[in-house]
Amino acid sequence: MKPRRFDYVRPDSADEAVAVLAEYGDAASVLAGGQSLMAMLNLRVAEPAVLIDIARLTELDYVRIAGDQVEVGAAVTQTRLKDWPELADQLPLLAAVLPFVGHFQTRNKGTVCGSIAHADPSSEIPLSLATLGGEVVLRSQRGTRVLAASEFQRGMLTTAREPDELITAARFPILATKRVAFREVARRHGDFAIIAVAACVKGGSAVTVGIGGVADRPAVRNATINSAAAAKEMFEQLAGELEGYDDIHASARLRRDLLRRVGPVVVEEALRCAA
């Protein structure tokens, strides 16, 4: 199908983009890579009156280390972050995760922040941001605010972004250890994850686990895991707590079952990694 008609605006700066957003509010959608939004426009699931194209804003096309975080601007594509030479050193979880985000062809255009903005519960990038305890930077004419990933992502395709706010960057914390692991279950590589599990060992046996695809947003838990039995017990409990949902890809019951099986494997892999 073809999109419904919309006005197209291509600002020359983030300031202009924020001004246009203030003018149109929730009648506008922000277009960066468009790998979710353009499909929604073509299917007429999204029908904005105005499209604000920020893909060419070079001031938002940066990856930089800022203190103990890596800040990724809103125009950075998934391929650009995947090919960032320092990725494996600074963000090993993202190095493990990014090859699973869509396909070669969609990562070339899809942005890191766009995936966070879209807030699909099965998406790998929002899951990584939540597991690492990262932040989202939002800018409007009222000022700039920084929200924790857990405050930003509210539910299925729902975030705390106000209609006049532009997501300008995401901030991923740099962990002290490189002990991370990630796995997902999908019908085909690059398809929507039926479930996704990320684990980071923050020291000793203190593990942070992030689960995508089961609840309406990434679920993050901190635990001390000393044994395989403890890991199994933790996911047993989580499977009951998170319930899961039915969709065309899998039933809620299958999601819970996959979580019980895959979760402990991922935690074990992270614990096995050399510090």
Binding site: M1, K2, P3, R4, R5, F6, D7, Y8, V9, R10, P11, D12, E16, V20, G34, Q35, M38, A39, L41, N42, L43, A49, L51, D53, A55, T79, P99, G102, H103, F104, Q105, T106, N108, K109, R188, H189, G190
Partner: protein, 164 residues
């Protein structure tokens, strides 16, 4: 700041296969439709129109992307490369196309333009991929008649690789 009203047809120009082209488009016109209906370059095929099948894959500034998830106006000033650029002007197929022919990598050929463009970009970045890497790139395309074995064999042959 570029602003185009929804009913307005605006002039969109870019470089297509090394040649300057332009035409009129509404903001909502997809790059695929602009190429096919306005410019008349019908080598790029349209399948699912929501980014899943990969038939419409073209290069923008050398990078393989979905044509159907790109607005014509977004290509403004860019360099677009489509399947028409691959063969020589006298019709001689390039090495990748010849490998597809030799290894029976197409049957109806509907998905082929997109797959050729994906590997044109990918092999420029990674000239000697493994079979697994080839299959990963191919996961962004759907072929409903030939299957994927011939395509993998063709890409392996042209890049000097060997099967798993």
């Amino acid at each position: 700041m570029r602003r185009v009203n929804k009913d307005e047809r605006t002039r969109v120009g870019f470089t297509l296969n090394g040649r300057a082209v332009s035409g009129d488009a509404e903001p909502r016109m997809l790059l695929t439709d602009f190429l096919r209906h306005v410019i008349g370059a019908t080598g790029t095929h349209v399948g699912c129109e929501h980014g899943v099948c990969g038939c419409c894959t073209v290069l923008i500034d050398g990078t393989a992307v979905r044509g159907c998830l790109t607005l014509a106006v977004q290509a403004e000033g860019r360099s677009v490369t489509t399947v028409e650029a691959l063969a020589s002007p006298d019709g001689t197929l390039n090495a990748l196309q010849q490998a597809f022919q030799q290894h029976h990598a197409l049957q109806c050929g509907f998905c082929t333009p997109g797959i050729l463009m994906s590997f044109t970009d990918y092999l420029a970045r990674n000239p000697h991929p493994t079979e697994d890497e080839i299959r990963e790139v191919l996961s962004g395309h759907l072929c409903r008649c030939t299957g994927y074995a011939g395509i993998v064999a063709a890409v392996l042959a042209v890049s000097g690789g060997s099967p798993n």
